[in-house]
């Protein structure tokens, strides 16, 4: 600490100097904040102001800087000093713009500003500038699992950007599902007729590309390591195993079609009733000629039944089939109907649909099929019988009556079932039982493991977590490519149902994500959403009680256990959310620039007025991803909220350690409000589980508060979206009013 030199810079620009007494703030920074250098400037973010700070860093050996000016989210380019720890006291968005104007508010405004200066000084003293952790030997190769359209596209895009790709395909040929098609839906202007799949050309290009290493007839026997240092055991069908070292993984393992045998009422398994894949097979056999059924008879009439075994009720509501729409099947049926019409316009083709969904330019293709005479009937098929003359019974939804059509062939548009590997929610209890010595569970575990795709040796299980309906993980609402396994990205129909065009876009996106991941890993930077963060968690193991909360609660599976059962951080897998820090009951986990102390010292730094002053103090811990920007935007909109709150941004509500709450209550705060992102199935938490964990942890804090003689209402947790700039104001003001009714905290004066 001997070499540390602290400096505070207070900006009086943007009207701060007019509304607040800057000299008093300087005195506070000097006396209470114990800053060696304190300066104010009328325009701190201009070249001259920034130069002042730079000069002090160069000439006065300043190592820690507290900037009391605008929000930490503003002027980030101006206030960027390499190698120097920095805190920001938010005097503009946090005080000037949100405290009501006028002389009568001068006192509370000044108090608020003074507290923010105290907090900024206290925080920076506990910070260390992260040095980063450059990995010389980090691998920048990227593994692509699956050689279908998505996988081929990802590999080609990776190679096109100059990176090396390793492409692993289970079967003996590239192309996946697309290779089983006669033609694909149009993807180029004028979107009027089915087009060649182009699989053969792509496969040839991949074979000839020196940047792509191809493993056919291969699966992944084991994946270990972390971004930048994944070690992959590629097992050939012949039994030989090749080891590949890669930096990131794109999982493009696609889908299988929903089993028609589960649809006996729609004729599944009966003669002359096929699914869409079955029709492609017949079309490939016909090779452009008349399409014939399995019994050799030329098809003169065909009925397509849409949504077969799809868009059923949810399982919990009694549904038995897929509850989602697979997105591509309407377009695929239109395409297949044109196979017939293009060959012979006199063939009767009827598509029985409930809602025709043709995303993208599909609407043009739909029209072109109508022009060719494909009949579209809005109805819901109830029964199909196969045989020489198939019968489709359906309810006509326009005419509101039951109807029956006869046809030589019936095609069922069944859905996509993702190949996402092991379902971890089913896996974990089985493994726990197996580890406990249960023989049946051991067999079940080994059986489950056979469908694993990545065979990760993570303690969290062998595959990515699964999202709704068994699709591979995705931060569906905000960042669709992101998964909870850092450096592993899902692409194509394994992630959500989609058609070929969407899958190629998806694969391109995932390839770029993987490239970012290998680059970040090589210099020790965090991946999304704290991109560029060089800090990483460390644990004081001598204080660790091996409770395993951090390893279990980490949303990203970044923490393993070492041979002595202590947490072992895989820095490259870490997303720097601090959920481990929030979980740790003995508070041994910290980041260089974000720790129990950096926030705790801010909580304790503020001045709590005496009870008779009737000025409550409320601590707001706001998630920096959504809630803090919303609060800033409230300031931008000049919305006023109570000057009694003191807001501290946190990386994620998951990083909130309960000690901050108890410390705050003990110091005499009247209440604590936490603002985080939406939790639940449609979560918006950037770190997936953080907000949920915070809600859970706070639900347990009531007892502690009661023991302290405090009302449990003094601690609340709110869900806030980034667009809620008006709502945060209401939330704060309502809460302050509620606390005023509750009366001052009985802990005041004891702190």
């Amino acid at each position: 600490m001997a070499d540390n030199k602290f400096a505070a810079y207070i900006c009086s620009g943007c009207g701060i100097g007019d509304a607040m007494k800057v000299p008093q703030l300087e005195a506070i920074a000097k006396k209470e904040g114990k800053m060696a250098i304190v300066k104010s400037h009328p325009f701190l973010c201009n070249a001259e102001g920034v130069q002042t700070i730079k000069d002090d860093i160069a000439n006065e050996a300043v190592t820690h800087v507290c900037i009391a000016a605008c929000s930490r989210r503003a002027k980030t380019e101006a206030f960027q000093f390499d190698g120097v720890a920095m805190s920001r006291a938010n005097l503009r968005e946090g005080v000037l713009w949100v405290v009501a104007t006028g002389k009568e508010h001068d006192e509370v405004r000044q108090e608020m500003a003074a507290d923010y200066v105290r907090m900024g000084c206290a925080e920076v003293k506990k910070m260390t500038q992260p040095a980063g952790n450059v990995k010389e030997s980090s691998s920048k190769r990227i593994l692509v699992v699956g050689g279908g359209m998505s996988g081929m596209t990802a590999a080609m895009e990776i190679a096109a950007t100059g990176y090396e790709a390793v492409l692993v395909e289970k079967t003996g040929a590239l192309g996946g599902m697309t290779a089983q098609l006669w033609k694909r839906q149009p993807f180029k202007e004028p979107y009027a007729a089915a087009q060649e799949t182009g699989v053969a050309e792509m496969a040839a290009k991949i074979a000839a590309n020196p940047k792509i290493k191809l493993h056919l007839n291969s699966t992944i026997a084991e994946t270990s390591g972390a971004p930048g240092r994944f070690v992959i055991q590629v097992a050939q069908e012949s039994g030989t195993v090749t080891e590949e070292t890669v930096g990131a993984i794109v999982q493009a393992t696609g889908f299988t079609t929903y089993d028609m045998a589960k649809l006996p009422e729609l004729g599944g398994g009966q003669p002359n009733v096929v699914d869409q894949a079955g029709l492609e097979k017949l079309a490939l056999q016909a090779n452009g000629g008349a399409i014939k059924r399995a019994d050799g008879k030329e098809v003169k009439s065909v009925v397509f039944v849409q949504c077969a075994g799809q868009r059923d009720k949810l399982k919990e509501d009694g549904g038995t089939h897929l509850s989602y729409c697979s997105g591509h099947c309407c377009g695929t049926s239109i395409k297949q109907a044109t196979y017939f019409k293009d060959q012979n316009p006199d063939i009767d083709t009827v598509i029985v649909y409930d809602d025709l969904r043709v995303p993208g330019m599909g609407e043009d293709f739909y029209r072109s099929a109508q022009e060719k005479g494909v009949i579209f009937t809005k109805g819901k098929a109830s029964k199909v019988t196969g045989g020489d003359s198939c019968k489709v019974s359906f309810k006509d939804l326009i005419l509101d009556e039951e109807n029956t059509i006869a046809a030589d062939l019936v095609v069922l548009a069944t859905g996509q079932v993702p190949n996402a590997g092991v379902d971890l929610e089913a896996w974990n209890p089985v493994v726990t039982a197996a580890d406990g010595g249960d023989a049946a569970a051991k067999t079940a575990r080994d059986e489950m493991k056979t469908i694993s795709i990545l065979n990760l040796n993570y303690r969290q299980g062998p595959d990515m977590p699964q999202f709704k309906h068994g699709f591979a993980d995705s931060h569906f609402i905000c960042f669709p490519y992101e998964t909870r396994r850092t450096g592993i990205y899902a692409a194509g129909p394994v992630r959500r149902p989609m058609d070929i065009l969407q899958a190629t876009d998806d694969a391109t996106g995932a390839a770029l994500k993987a490239i970012q991941a290998v680059e970040n890993a090589s210099v020790g930077r965090a991946a999304h959403p704290r991109s560029g963060d060089l800090s990483f968690p460390t644990a004081r193991l001598e204080g660790c009680t091996q409770c395993k909360r951090c390893t279990v609660e980490c949303p990203f599976g970044a923490i393993d256990e070492d041979e002595r059962r202590f947490p072992k951080f895989n820095e490259e897998r870490c997303r720097r959310c601090g959920t481990c820090m929030g979980a740790c009951p003995v508070r041994v986990i910290s980041f260089e620039n974000y720790s129990v102390d950096t926030v705790g010292s801010q909580v304790k730094a503020i001045e709590i007025p005496e009870e008779d002053e009737e000025k409550p103090r409320i601590l707001v811990l706001a998630c920096e991803n959504d809630a803090y920007p919303a609060l800033d935007m409230a300031g931008l909109a000049r919305l006023n909220y109570s000057a009694f709150v003191r807001i501290i941004p946190v990386r994620c509500l998951g990083s909130v350690n309960t000690i901050w709450i108890t410390d705050a209550m003990n110091s005499g705060y009247d209440g604590v409000m936490m603002m985080g992102c939406k939790k639940g199935d449609d979560y918006q938490c950037h770190f997936v589980k953080g907000s949920e964990l915070a809600h859970y942890r706070m639900s347990k804090i009531g007892d502690t508060l009661t023991q302290l003689g405090l009302e449990p209402e003094r601690v609340v947790t709110q869900e806030v979206a980034i667009t809620d700039n008006q709502r945060v104001v209401t939330l704060i003001n309502d809460y302050v009013a509620e606390l005023e009714k509750l009366g001052p905290s009985p802990m005041k004066g004891f702190g």
Partner: protein, 207 residues
């Protein structure tokens, strides 16, 4: 007419859509309907119809020949053109409805006693006789469509209007004896006959 109907049934067998495409004005656009229902929702007389345009198009595709050609819906159209303006697929719905009405009428499958159909027939026959509409005989013809008694009742209820028109010299009672025609009546009849011949040929009604 029955023969025309029989031959149409024969020719198109169960493909009524093809029959409509070949014989009905703008019939080739029926297949382009995407069943959104905007036409049905836009029709100001929608609730007075048995079948909305949306349903008529669906019935055509479902091969419901008798129901479509026997429907009175097409005769209820007032040609307000709301549906044409709003159709997202740009189907000329009004024209198709009139085309269907015309086709059903020619096949003699349109509903008997349908007032619009009856009045249109009356109007055509009246206009064709002299090349211009004889308002007196047209009105009287209309009054007496439903028999002598109701005709007399209707005429009596309208007598003050008739008198007013007469005094204003807008009604000549002498017109009841045939009235005056266009200059070249023979030429006019020749034109109409030729037009009918062309249309019959186009729509497959010529022997």
């Amino acid at each position: 007419m029955t023969t025309a109907n029989q031959s149409a049934v024969e020719r198109y067998r169960n493909n009524f859509l093809k029959e409509v495409e070949a014989n009905v004005e703008e019939g080739h656009m029926v297949k382009m309907c995407m069943q959104c229902g905007v036409c049905a929702g836009s029709c100001p007389l929608g609730n007075a119809w048995e079948h909305s345009p949306q349903k008529i198009f669906m019935m055509i595709r479902a091969g419901k020949r008798d129901e479509v050609l026997g429907s009175d819906s097409m005769f209820m159209c007032t040609s307000c053109y709301n549906c044409i303006v709003r159709c997202p697929r740009q189907l000329p719905i009004t024209h198709i409805m009139h085309g269907l009405a015309n086709y059903a009428h020619r096949l003699n499958l349109a509903p008997k006693g349908q007032p619009t159909r009856d009045f249109a027939t009356l109007f055509w026959n009246n206009a064709i006789k002299k090349g211009r509409v004889n308002e007196l005989t047209l009105t009287l013809g209309h009054y007496f469509t439903n028999g002598l008694v109701s005709g007399i009742k209707m005429a009596l209820s309208m007598q003050s209007i008739g008198l007013g028109l007469f005094l204003a010299k807008r009604l000549n009672p002498m017109e009841i004896f045939g009235g005056h025609g266009v200059k070249d009546l023979k030429g006019f009849h020749a034109i109409v006959a030729k037009a009918k011949e062309i249309e019959d040929r186009k729509k497959g009604f010529s022997a």
